[in-house]
Amino acid sequence: MTKVEALIRPQKLDEVKAALTDMGIRGMTVSEVRGAGKQRGFTQHYRGAEYTVNLIQKIKLEVVVADADARKVAQTIATTARTGEIGDGKIFLMPVAEVIRIRTGEEGETALQ
């Protein structure tokens, strides 16, 4: 099994979620995160005091899928979340050793269904 962890623009979340739902993927974890990459931050003024914000708001989307589906899921996220501008985010794929569904105790891919 593989965990697909995508860092995307907040405004792309709904679109990505819809695309994943279309693929039959319903389970996911979403968090609001801040991070830095190539995208430059922005400057704010509060009564003249300058604050440079370079940790930018992003969404972290985590999905665990069967190994066979991982690349397709990742590509779907990539095409949906892409704007072509710097700051679109990144996707990481990593192996998952085991999955357990807490309610039933099921293990492995059946726990992902």
Partner: protein, 478 residues
């Protein structure tokens, strides 16, 4: 002081008693006509007697002063929100409390001895003791301060000013002062700085009043004293500890804007009510107050737009409050066009004054000195420039009304005394409080936030601050 509108206006009402009271009683009988006949009969003799020499309560004057008193009371919660939004989330309750607690502390001080020391007849510096515990301050008017309103109401109106003034100081010392030390400071400051200043400027026999310095609603007494004391106390406390990665931005500007709205609204009572009457002067003060706030807010935003390429919400809020501060001493003596000049002037002056702190390296956290100290001084000076007897015959003519520099000189005297009393008083009180209780919280307490360490509360359940976990654990087990 001639300027003390408070008695001047009262005297004025008596002087031309016929003109204002005739339409007033006519207005009364017109309204009363709709009421039951016996009530009408009761009203007619009372309005008739109001035209006599003996001080008699006027219902219009009293109604407006009751409302104004409530309006000024609401400014303290408004100030709490104005300041509260500008601090970090971990200090929001502490900041709100520093304003709200003044309602409790100063009210008790005021009725016990503050009002007597400020307003009872005494020396040119301080009032007497004859009104301790509000003895003799009852429903009958006290003609010197307001011949047509209950003395007790005048006392309550003045109380609301006494409450908000020390609360103004709290903005400068935000995020780092022990709550107990703040309380002790406010208690002593109210008695040592505020009451003598109020007496000198407004009290019967006060020396600035007799000198002829004008301060309609508290430019010197409220804003210069609090602004200068804020600066001194902020320097004595030292800077806030800003961690390397700490986000010092205001945590809720919507809260600050709500506070601004309440301050603006309440200020109609602050300045309009200072006419101590429901009359043309009250309307004039009301109108110029609004104009100055509107102009200063707009000009501040315009300056920001040029300087930083962005018109900010905090800039509008700051400008509006600065405008309200600046018009305060002038509000009963100047006309609409002067209000435009005073508002525009304060926006420019305070905009640059708040940048002094980064040059001079003091940490006036929420710019109390830049807005209230400097804005108040500009307002007091501007009164000397723009005051006109055409607006208030009991005032004086300033520079532009052909009065020469005489009034400006008196205004500068008032400003100087306010600065001196506030600065010296604050240094002494600060040293005393430091010796007894200490001024600052510890560095760890500052990191964890004053809400948790001073009050054992959090402003926002589930807020992600470093200090959150103990509260969550306690909640789970409790």
């Amino acid at each position: 002081m001639l300027g003390s509108p408070r008695s001047l206006v009262a005297a004025g009402d008596k002087a031309d008693a016929c003109a204002p009271s005739a339409p007033k009683s006519w207005g009364w009988s017109r309204r009363a006509a709709g009421l039951a006949a016996p009530l009408l009969l009761l009203l007619i003799p009372s309005t008739a007697m109001a035209q006599g020499d003996a001080p008699k309560i006027d219902s219009g004057d009293t109604a407006w002063l009751l409302v104004s008193t409530a309006l000024v009371m609401l400014m303290t919660p408004g100030l709490a929100l104005f300041y509260g939004g500008m601090v970090r989330a971990k200090n929001v309750l502490n900041t709100l409390m520093q304003s709200f607690i003044a309602l409790s502390v100063v009210t008790v001080l005021w009725i016990v001895c503050g009002y007597s020391l400020a307003f009872a007849k005494g020396s040119p510096i301080l009032g007497g003791l004859q009104w301790l515990g509000l003895r003799g301050v009852g429903q009958e008017p006290y003609a010197f301060y307001g011949a047509t309103v209950p003395h007790e109401l005048f006392m309550a109106y003045q109380l609301m000013f006494a409450i908000i003034t020390p609360a103004l100081i709290s903005g400068a010392i935000a995020d780092r002062m022990k709550f107990g030390s703040y309380l002790l400071f406010v208690t002593i400051w109210s008695l040592v700085v505020y009451t003598p200043m109020a007496h000198m400027v407004w009290g019967e026999g006060g020396f600035l009043r007799d000198l002829g310095a004008l301060d309609f609603a508290g430019g010197t007494v409220v804003h210069i004293t609090s602004g200068v004391s804020a600066l001194v106390l902020a320097i004595m406390l030292g800077k806030r500890k800003a961690g390397f990665a700490e986000d010092m931005r205001p945590h809720s500007l919507p809260m600050t804007l709500i506070g601004t709205g309440l301050l603006w609204f309440g200020w109609f009572g602050f300045n309009g009510g200072s006419a101590i009457g429901s009359n043309g002067l009250a309307a004039s003060a009301f109108v110029v107050t609004h104009i100055a706030a509107a102009v200063a807010g707009g000009v501040w935003v315009a300056i920001e737009w040029i300087a930083y390429k962005r018109p900010t919400a905090l800039g509008l809020a700051t400008g509006a409050v600065a405008g309200l501060v600046a018009i305060t001493p002038a509000s009963g003596f100047v006309g609409p066009m002067a209000a435009v000049a005073i508002g525009a002037g304060v926006a420019v002056i305070s905009f640059f004054a708040i940048r002094l702190k980064s040059v001079l390296k003091y940490d006036d956290a929420l710019d109390v000195f830049g807005v209230h100290g400097v804005g108040g001084a500009w307002g007091a000076l501007a009164t000397g420039i723009f005051a006109s007897k055409a607006i208030n015959p009991l005032g004086a003519d300033g520079l532009l009304a052909g009065g020469g520099f005489a009034l400006i000189g008196k205004q500068l005297a008032g400003i100087g005394v306010a600065i001196a009393v506030a600065a010296v008083g604050t240094v002494l009180i600060g040293l005393l409080v430091k010796a007894v209780l200490g001024l600052r919280v510890t560095g760890d307490e500052e990191d964890a936030g004053l809400d948790l360490t001073q009050h054992g509360e959090s402003g926002y359940a589930g807020a992600s601050t470093g200090s959150e976990s103990p509260a969550v654990v306690a909640g789970m087990h409790g």
